[in-house]
Symmetry: none
């Protein structure tokens, strides 16, 4: 991972601007033997030009062969070893909806679900109820309180909500209640003796909630998962000496950014052009912009090869709006691969492009794509190297040693 | 190394089959400047096709610049850091002959040798006596016992045998008795105070054995080397969740496989075709097959460039017998390099080929050879990454983090 202690001694401020443009799930694989990947299929003249002028390579998000989730994959891009710094899903979800999670809070991701007359879960997502229904159910659950702790029941999206406990002596080492099969929800189980009181609180709340929901349809029950606390990560702006902003549409990515201490910018619209316009609007206020693009991953998860390529093309088309700002360092990459052939995240190394006019060497890559990236000057490298490389190309690192 | 703890949490069983085909000492160097290596000289249409379809690269067995022995090199292929997990030669030899080594046993590799009238070793291998003679001498030595310990004297091959002590409180930290020059055999020396009693036992036995052998010719003395105990390695089948089998001809490789908990399959014949037929016969019983090919290394050690190339061609010719089984993941590599020019193991990175239809990217390598492997999508990587990559391509790893 990035050696934060070492970097701290070397960091020297300047006026440079760094942009980390992340197309979620960017990496792909061919549809047919020796065919192009989604990125290679896409018509992306702007990215190809940057690849030609700058350096390319492939990053390994967490470990060779490991398929990362979005949380760990983004931590890795930000320079944090994702095995050392693990974040629970409850925390990510809470932060993603803008909840002001405090140190010591214990957060769970909740799913409304459907149980049959025997209490067995027959739909883990309660027929994907609309968000409005989720809000209504959360409002019904809120009055149900527990002694000695403050409680927050917050809708997320569709069938998903967050439950946060706040109080003294809470311990997040409590297991999931989702049995992941047709069975009744599990009891919340403590994974350490110190977590017994917290598990008891969750179980008490679940019992009350089940009573409130029992006549609802289809959301007549719930499960809790990913129970966790803020792990207290080193703060990105301090570690790198960068006034840092996140420009993202989806809650999860805002959540990870908040967790590492970035400012999350609110803006209208959800297109790449809207995101780049937001960067422009805040250009003077920050040194570092993390810009997150979601549809690449979504189309990959859908198994939509051409749709994913089109999503990449949309970003390429909007790119001049970003380039006109003349960033000193622009990194274009993904957090992980989401090959549409696999319809899921994967372990494949992720194409990466580092463009820093006047500071990079040339390599023989002339386009932005997985196969061209094999020729790149960046080689195949751990994702956690990106931030030190960004700082270096922004001339924000002093010489190490005399 | 492979992070066993992390993998354990992510492993998910399925029906996939993984084959690790190891041509011992596969890597080579050119005979003349810019000439082909043995692998590049060999006519190997099947391997070339797999290289074209799959991904290639080069692995570093233990550390850059380190020339590994067979034991460490195989441990590395199996995902174990060979510096962290060291196995004594005595253990490897004992396991290689099928000896049922128990935890706590102390095993030594023995050499029959020839000493002159002054007691100086003048032939460290006793004129390479035939195995039958070795068996006869071991039989003569067996009645010589020691108080309080059980003893096993087991012939290996030619002038080599194993001596195993079994009993309470034995300690393997005892030095070699081979002076490696014209001098009398050394006394067995304890390298830790706790090992003094064990060293004393070895010396007592050596004295008795010398008495028994004194009138033999040429094997009138012996030396002991690589005194060691089973290091208690994590078990490969548990670490990776794979029912695992070893198909090998030579004792050493069976030994390492047993040490990590693989089943070692007995079979008739010793050709690559025989080994692939054995894989076929046990195809349903295992998820993972380690297939070991020895002649590549032997011809390299002989300095026989063309012979090594021919040995590779023999494997290529037999390969359809393996491919017809339709493995989900096939890795073809060596444990280390044995360039025939050097007539010995070497430190050079080892060509590696990962073939997993429908799951790999393309790279621009079109043949299997050291130079083409430089173009490969696998890059140059630690050998210990191979098993996590194999599991990933077999879709046996769940996502890490949400």
């Amino acid at each position: 991972m990035a050696d934060f202690e070492l970097l701290k001694e070397l960091i020297t401020p300047n006026q440079s601007k760094i942009v980390l443009l992340v197309m979620d799930g960017l990496g792909g694989i061919p549809r047919e033997p020796n065919g192009p990947t989604e990125l290679e299929y896409a018509k992306i003249p702007n990215f190809d030009r940057l690849a030609n002028e700058g350096n390319v390579g492939l990053h390994i998000p967490v470990r060779p062969g490991l398929t990362p989730g979005s949380g760990p994959a983004h931590l890795a891009l930000f320079g944090y070893d994702a095995v050392q710094y693990q974040i629970g899903r409850g925390v990510l979800e809470s932060l993603g909806i803008g909840f002001d999670l405090q140190p010591g809070d214990v957060a769970a991701r909740g799913n409304f679900c459907t149980v049959d007359a025997d209490g067995n879960i027959i739909d883990r997502r309660a027929g994907r109820i609309p968000t409005e229904k989720c809000v209504e159910l959360c409002n019904k659950l809120r009055p149900s309180t527990l002694p000695g702790v403050e409680m927050f029941v917050e809708p997320v999206k569709d069938y998903r909500f967050c439950l946060i406990l706040r109080g003294e002596g809470l311990d997040p080492r409590v297991g999931d209640t989702d049995p992941q099969r047709k069975a009744p929800p599990l009891r919340a189980q403590a994974h350490a003796p110190e977590a017994e009181p917290t598990a008891a609180l969750f179980n008490e709340w679940i019992a009350k909630a089940r009573e409130i929901l029992k006549n609802e349809h289809p959301a007549n029950a719930l499960t809790l998962r990913g129970i966790a606390s803020d792990p207290g990560l080193p703060r990105f702006p301090d570690v790198y000496g960068l006034r840092s902003a996140c420009v993202a549409v989806y809650p999860m990515y805002k959540g990870v950014s908040r967790l590492v201490g970035m400012d999350v910018i609110d803006f209208d619209g959800d297109s790449p052009a809207d995101e780049f316009a937001t960067v422009k609007a805040f250009w003077d206020a920050y040194d570092f912009f993390f810009v997150h693009i979601k549809p690449t991953d979504s189309r990959g998860e859908d198994g939509d090869f051409v749709g994913k390529a089109k999503a990449i093309e949309t970003v390429d088309a909007a790119l001049p709006g970003l380039l006109e700002l003349k960033p000193d360092v622009l990194i274009v990459t993904g957090d992980h691969s989401t090959p549409s052939v696999l319809k899921s995240h994967s372990w494949h190394p992720v194409p990466a492009l580092l463009w820093a006019p006047g500071v990079t060497r040339r390599d023989t890559a002339t386009a932005f794509g997985e196969t061209e990236c094999l020729k790149g000057a960046l080689g195949t490298f751990p994702a956690t190297d990106l931030m030190p490389l960004a700082l270096a190309h922004a001339k924000r690192l002093q010489k190490f040693g005399a």
